[in-house]
Amino acid sequence: MTPTLISEPAPALAVPPADPRRRPRVADLGTPLLYAASLSTALVLAGLLIALVGLSPWDAARAMYDGSLADGAAIGQSIDQAAPLLLVAIGSVIAARAGIFNIGQEGQLLVGASVGAAIALFTPGPGALVLILALLGAAVGGALWAAIAAVLFYWRGVAVVISTLLLIFVANQAVSYAVNSPSLLREKAVAGQVTTSQTDMLAESVWLPRIGEYPDFNIGAGIFIALALAAGTSVVLVRSRLGFRIRMLGLNPKAAHRAGVGAVLIGGGALLASGAFAGLAGGVMLTGSGHRMQDGFADNVGFDGLLVALVARDKPMLAVPVALFFGALRAGGGFLSATGVPRYIVAVVTALLVLATVFPAAYAEVRRRRTAGA
């Protein structure tokens, strides 16, 4: 069959499949002015929204600042919020680079956190060891949850986008079941106390250590894990053979297939890795801040982390500042209640910013195509 291989049309190799998220090059990003205009439009829209319901956008901005940047404690909060977002984002980047769009991080995070909680609660041993086991277990849990989608895709051809999305709702209920079952994770009854649907508090020895001085400035160790993994992922993606294969698979699956890159192994592996990162994010949230599982544990971190990856255009190192910014938004949102502005404005701002960041590149691309006369 060699002749047909050679006569394979060249354009398939020359032109990557049209994935608009990856298309824009630095040269045609358009002017930074367009970005500035686009981002300020998003912020102005959010401000207008607050003003329209009769509240003060300035108070809201002030409160957001107080909660996220005003002093050491606030900055520490922002960084703590950024850690799981960054972890989720790195995972999303890996999958996206392999051409797989995993959008079920919210569920993978939740499953990971539950596995981590089970290990942290029921494993005897020295605290540090149990902590490491819990974090690893969380990663494995997230990866296994993503593996369901991987199996469905490679075995039965079910679209990853849809299966990961639906698995979020299944994960929600599975975790809720575990947290409500006395035989599983529900907190143990103490005589004369009513148990609620949450797990026991983790022993303090398995909490992620905090660095710095309370209350002036202290941050959890989670951000260091996240930063190290971001740097590592960046190097692997750009410099290693594995990273080359991942990117090749994403840019041109046909060429990758001809070159002997196993779609199941590399693509499935990337999907599992993204689940593992989401699970680890859950583990970090569990051991770093919440210390127990309860309703609303995931708190949209999975979705927001995914948005971080989108804004960072699938670059792990660019995800760091974006995650810090989104973390600051989340931390600031906690301070909004005093101003009467519903904290949901943070979600609105986040989503508007995502649209605002994809707009300029896409617009520049459209203009480039028009002037090229295509």
Binding site: A18, V53, G54, P342
Partner: protein
């Protein structure tokens, strides 16, 4: 016994109606090549705007129009971003889902809403039939729109010139393009139609069945709608069957405890999603999807 059966069946139909409206739209969008995950946003936005519109005008029926408008606006944003600017459709969908969830939650805390509900319409004579009467002929009036809408959508997609071009855009956009069909325009139009119908579905849920808006009211129903289209193998009747199955699963969740059957509540809540996953698992290989589904169209060499 027959009363219980009638109750469960009637509630299945009631829970199916909002899904069916939205699924008609999603079916159109998918046949034109867009996996439109912002259908969730369209339904949620439609639900909120319907209640808001009803509060402003004092009429639940006007609320339905407001709901459709909200869906249309969300569809417009999605269509412009993904089929004019060529932004990845999932990126747009995710952002819109987050935006509308945040926006409706924000506004729910900020504006005054009053409950409104459209009138029930019991078809004379027929609604007195045993079993069939309460199941099929005693619903809120917009539900009967489906009787006309489903054949209309079928005709539009399968028999009209517009539908032919739409399907061409979903099957082979390159060929469609060289025969002079404006692929992106057809796709934009399909998303707009999806927005109107999904908005109507959400509006029906809010001012038709519940009579009020709660935070994140649709709670993933939009994704169930996508699953229904896949379940139905991208045919309209299969899609409607899918809606009925998922609606019935939802009805079981509400009805079983009342009937004294004790099943795990988490399992019942997860049931529609599990069913959808199972259905896709068994049907994904046998059902052929539109060939260019989910692939953005860029004119030129590919």
């Amino acid at each position: 016994m027959i009363d219980d059966l009638a109750m469960v069946l009637a509630s299945s139909v009631r829970l199916t109606v909002p899904l069916a409206f939205a699924a008609c739209g999603e079916y159109i969008a998918e046949r034109a090549g867009t996996i439109n995950i912002s259908v969730e946003a369209m339904m949620l936005g439609g639900a909120f705007n319907a209640v808001w519109g009803a509060s402003l005008t004092g009429s639940a029926s006007f609320g339905l129009v407001f709901g459709m408008l909200a869906g249309l606006v969300i569809g417009f944003v999605h269509a412009e971003f993904s089929h004019r600017l060529s932004v990845n459709t999932y990126v747009v969908g995710l952002a819109l889902n987050a935006l509308v969830l945040g926006l409706t939650s924000f506004l729910l805390d900020s504006v005054d809403l009053t409950g409104h509900q459209v009138d029930a319409l019991n078809i004379p004579v027929l609604s007195d039939l045993p079993l069939l009467g309460p199941v099929l002929f005693a619903h809120r009036w917009p539900a009967y729109l489906l009787v006309g809408l489903i054949p209309l959508v079928w005709w539009l997609v399968q028999r009209s010139r517009f539908g032919l071009e739409l399907r061409a855009a979903g099957e082979n956009p390159q060929s469609a393009d060289v025969t002079g069909i404006d692929v992106r325009r057809r796709r934009r139009q399909s998303v707009l139609l999806c927005g109107v119908l999904a908005g109507l579905g959400g509006a029906y849920l809010a001012v038709g069945e519940v009579g009020a808006f709660n935070q994140n009211m649709t709670a993933g129903r939009g994704f169930v709608v996508i699953a229904a289209v896949i379940f139905g193998g991208w045919t309209l009747r299969g899609t409607m069957a899918g809606c009925l199955v998922f609606g019935a699963a939802d009805a079981m969740r509400l009805a079983l405890p009342a009937l004294g059957v004790h099943l795990n509540s988490q399992l019942l809540i997860a049931a529609p999603y599990l069913l959808a996953l199972l259905a896709m698992m068994f049907l994904a290989k046998t059902h052929r999807q539109p060939a260019a589904l989910g692939a953005p169209f860029v004119r030129g060499i590919v």
